[in-house]
Symmetry: C3
Subunit: 185 residues, 3 copies
């Protein structure tokens, strides 16, 4: 039997907390697609901070009410009625104290009305996008974190879209490794 050193325990607790933070953020992002494709306007808008921004080209939403209205809009309800999948790749998450960022790629699939190949209606990929999240810790939220800003841009070769993806480099670099002292504890 041995006593555990104060700093070893503090370090261990911080490492577990970081894993939980990353898990919470990954889950928040993973829930966006299912919730928006289900038309869950309250749950989708609840992923954002009260003053959160959702900036997708052609549509700038400020605050939960705007995001709620997007989910209930004829445009989005039309996608759901036809059959749609907002698919997100696993995100590259970087937590830095009470704030975090995440980068992923997103595709939007919509069910075809026609049947061009004869044996399946199938889906078309209507959009492919670069997505960047800024988040902040929110212990009162059921997710533990809330989205401060989500920016999504069509992947069409524009510098604006690839710049969002490049942040996966900075994020990874900033947080991929704890200081060696922490890892060796």
């Amino acid at each position: 039997m041995t006593n555990i050193a104060d700093d070893v325990l503090a370090d261990l607790l911080a490492r577990v907390r970081r894993l939980e933070d990353e898990r919470d953020i990954a889950r928040l992002i993973a829930s966006y697609g299912p919730l928006v494709d289900a038309g869950e306007a309250d749950a989708v808008s609840g992923l954002w901070a009260d003053d959160g921004v959702y900036d997708v080209e052609g549509w700038l939403m400020r605050g939960r009410a705007d995001i709620h209205a997007m989910v209930e809009s004829p445009q989005h309800q039309g996608l759901i009625g036809r059959g749609c999948v907002h698919f997100h790749s696993p995100a590259v998450i970087a937590v830095n104290g009470g704030v975090a960022s995440a980068v992923c790629e997103t595709i939007l699939l919509v069910r075809r009305d026609d049947s061009p190949d004869g044996h399946s209606r199938g889906f078309t990929v209507q959009r492919g996008g670069a997505t960047h999240f800024e988040l902040r810790r929110a212990d009162v939220s059921m997710h533990g974190w809330e989205v401060v800003r989500r920016t999504t841009r069509l992947l069409d070769g524009s510098a604006e879209s690839t710049e969002l993806l490049s942040r996966a480099r900075l994020s990874g670099g900033a947080t991929a490794r704890e200081p060696d002292a922490d890892r060796r504890a």
Copy 2:
């Protein structure tokens, strides 16, 4: 140096165990696509409980033998021979003691036989689906968990399909946060 309080240690062990449970379930779900696209009938059916159910519209499988038979069926083997990808999004996982649920979206891509655009045969997206898993802990299983029921429905605007996705809301709400006391330990 200090002693660690009993409740702090118990809490820490419970938090690590939860992260491991979520990791085990995420890995089980992530392995489904590669295994079913490889035709690994034993490994695929082994993800389910002995009495597990796989309910995909038009095909209700009860027990591992049914699932094994699906993988070896001419229909599925035809997909593999042509070239297919059963793609799953990151799952929203909720563990509650010895049971768990998970929600994700799934797409099925199949290689084209023709070459409509002249420079690539490419793949078509044949289906987009809503998927819900019920799982239970199974310490004797190599995965630590086994699927009790998987339900998949085509995303075609039906209430049945969007209801499956809505469970991402309930799952998240139930388990996204530990009680504050646990987090502050």
Copy 3:
């Protein structure tokens, strides 16, 4: 208050380290798509070991310089300029001390030039692939791990492609569960 047994502490630290290793590898793999679609040649080639291999059918790259050249090649830059998404599924990761393997499925989406359905240009799925990673621990790397070999094969029904996916079975079996003694600590 109680002392923590040496073996309980050692076990707990090992379990947290494993979760961190898996997190680091998942993040490395998740970053590949955003980085390669952004044309970040330094960051992409930096995911590989100095002597790492990237073996994709029709293109065998040996070492970081080869991978860097692929990202800057006219072929790849053409994809970026048109708009592309290298989408990876969540990986099945198996860590074994200082080495690890991972299996995932990958799809390549490219923006259409034409507008066949009249209301969206959309993307086509140009390729679907089986991908296997061999990695090794690299504490000096900012990712903590580096790719020793990545093998990707078109999913076209060939034994070579499905054999890569079958490794998700072996990986899972090898590491899905810690010995019971560790889990019960």
